[in-house]
Amino acid sequence: MINWIFQLLVFPGLTFFVWIAFAFEWLERKTAAKIQSRVGPLTAGPKGFLQPVADYFKLIFKEEIIPRNSDKFVFLFGPPLYFSVPAIGAAFIPILGEKGVLSHSYDLLFILFIMAFSVLMASMLGYAAGGRYSTISIGRLVLQYTSYEVPLILSILAPALLARGLSLSKIVSSQISHWHVFYAPISFAVFLIVSLAELEKPPFDIPSAKTEIVAGWMTEFSGRPLAYIKLTKNLNYVFLSSLATTLFLGGPLLPIDVQDEFLKTILFLLVFLIKTFSVGFLIFIIKSALARIKIEQATSLLWVITTPLSFLQLLLIVLFR
């Protein structure tokens, strides 16, 4: 039991993921800077590595301002709840073997539910905060979600079909010799596009477009709630990258067999991290090369292009398996 709790909360569960989330943000900012021929964070920790940590702690120590017309309860307790969504999701991801900490035989459905819940939480938070920019932002968020939900489900179905099972561990174990990305490349691409939308990154950063609607639904948050929200966004990023790794890139598994338990764990972890960071990097590169599009363009793009594409992929799989 204690072992299980340790796994859930520290390694490879919550704490581990939070640190990866910090590392992701650092990497993102540093690479963004490099691409823009800048230097990026430099003074906080070696090479600025502790920059996200500094940001987080600073927000924790800051005053919280609760807007007058906001729902106080949701405003204060929503952010931790929002944070728990990807945190729980992360516990399903198999890292040190074929099974995640919480894994069971229909966990893929649970993952889908979690992704929907995260959007729901975001819109609830924005709504509780009140304010015009938040309201517009939520409208966009929900509209965007409804248009990417179908391609999301369809693209996740492809590896499930290939593995003939709805559990992540089954999907992972079916990829020992061949990754699903080679059989379902379109689904992988669609999944990346949908991840951009879920993460509110360009070209889909419409709900938090700062030049249009300030900071979107986060406009009114400050202090500790904001710290949670920022962290959750990074955690979401990690969660989606690791999900892509699990679904399409074979998770932590190695084609060779290693006897030593300890060495095996280390190797698994390493493989998993490399893959996750690569996916994160890929998402990041796509993001930096594009401009933001408009909400109606986004919905039409997601409906008209990605949905038929993912259907096509499923059809191909069904026909050729």
Partner: protein, 412 residues
């Protein structure tokens, strides 16, 4: 019925009180808003995401410069008009100085006229690059923004080398320029211009083929040329509607009669054509700077500055990066101007911009509003300030008069 017609009809209904707009439909844009680096307030009336009406509310940058100019002597005034705005600061001082010079019949040395042209064109390059970078920023394309601003630093370096400051050049003076060019400046200018013209080619390629930029700018902000005739925009905004108007060729000043600009026009009149037009203008400016620096004559850069300016009225205009900048100066023979009136490009363009916005969505607001490249620094010298909290901001002459009488009665 087109979107525009519908919008017009809606507007008519709003103004006659037939439709009441809920506060949710009204989105404030500014005065402090991340898309506008300057304080300006636009009341945007929305229906869903569609814009029905835009009401600009100017005055957030009003400082009272025209009044203050009446207390400054001719030399001090140059520094003050320059600080109407930090982006085309040289255009302001140049326009003012030229207007004053036309009162005096002084001879401006030929070398000084060439130097003025060089600085004015460098300023145009810097201003257009700044704007192009901001378009990247407004469309959420941070990488483009950073690259363009990185390249803009090359121009600012040149400006600093010549004038001593990156932004406020403080360089023009009556009868010429304050200092000569540094020695061997062409050794700095030539490589920088070469680098920039390569970069501009690259940016042109991005603007014309990157799909996300194209769908954000093509066909956005279209207005018909008739509107232009009615609302009289100036500068690139006018030129992108197919009118070939440019003060530099219509009424040459500085050395523009010897180094002739090639005025570009376009007929698409949308934000995308503005992007291309401005990039073309940068290329042309680069050509002109290079030409000027090779054929610059030797000689003095200023003659002696008169203490008092003869009595008279004068008007002058220059082509600032954003269009025609117009100055009127009245002198009564003293050491101070009696009246200075400035008509700036943004003020002339703002109405067209609100017209451009109608029928588009909220997401287009930053792109369009800034597509005309507004900078409210210069627009806000003339405004009506609302009196008291909660009162309507449009006050008509009668109200103003009554207010004035009441105020005087109270404060006597």
């Amino acid at each position: 019925m087109s979107d525009k017609d519908q919008a017009e009809e809606k507007l008519a209904k709003i103004s006659t009180g037939l439709i009441q707009y809920s506060p949710e439909g009204l989105v404030p844009f500014g005065p402090v808003h991340p898309a506008l680096k300057e304080p300006e307030y636009f009341k945007i009336i929305l229906e869903g995401e569609k814009i029905v009406q835009v009401i600009p509310r100017i005055g957030y940058a009003h400082r009272g410069i025209e009044r203050a100019l009446q207390d400054r002597n001719w030399i001090q005034a140059i520094y003050l008009v320059e600080r109407i705005c930090g982006i085309c600061s040289f255009s302001h001082s140049l326009a003012f100085v030229q207007t004053v010079e036309s009162l005096t019949e002084l001879e401006i040395p030929r070398r000084a006229r060439y130097i003025r042209l060089i600085i004015a064109e460098l300023e145009r390059i810097h201003s257009h690059l700044l704007w192009l970078g901001l378009v990247g920023y407004w469309t959420g394309f941070d990488t483009l923004f950073m690259w363009i601003w990185r390249d803009r630093e090359r121009v600012l370096d040149l400006i600093e080398l010549i004038t001593g400051n990156r932004v406020h050049k403080s360089y023009a003076t009556i009868t010429g320029v304050r200092r000569d060019l540094p020695e061997n400046i062409e050794r700095h200018i030539q490589p920088a211009m070469k680098y920039l013209s390569d970069r501009v080619k690259f940016y042109k390629e991005i603007i014309n083929s990157e799909a996300t930029i194209l769908i954000r700018t093509k066909g956005i902000g279209w207005v018909s040329p008739d509107v232009a005739v009615r609302l009289c925009p100036v500068g690139p905004l006018l030129r992108c509607m197919g009118f070939k108007r440019d003060v530099r060729t219509d009424d040459p000043y500085a050395a523009y009669d010897e180094i002739v600009p090639d005025v570009k026009t376009s007929t698409d009149s949308d934000v995308h054509s503005l992007l291309n037009l401005r990039l073309d203008e940068i290329e042309d400016s680069i050509r002109m700077v290079l030409e000027a620096i090779t054929s610059i004559p030797t000689g003095q850069v200023k003659s002696s500055i008169p203490r008092a300016i003869p009595r008279g009225d004068a008007m002058g205009h220059v082509e600032a990066p954003r269009g025609e900048l117009f100055y009127f100066v009245r002198s009564e023979g003293g050491n101070k101007p009696v009246r200075v009136k400035i008509r700036t490009p943004t003020l002339a363009n703002i109405l067209t911009a609100t017209e451009m916005l109608k029928g588009h969505t909220l997401a287009d607001v930053p792109v369009v509003l800034t597509g005309m490249d507004p900078c409210f620094g210069c627009m806000d010298r003339l405004t009506i300030i609302d009196i008291g909290e909660g009162k309507r901001w449009q006050i008509n002459g009668e109200e103003l008069r009554r207010y004035g009488i009441e105020w005087y009665n109270k404060n006597r």
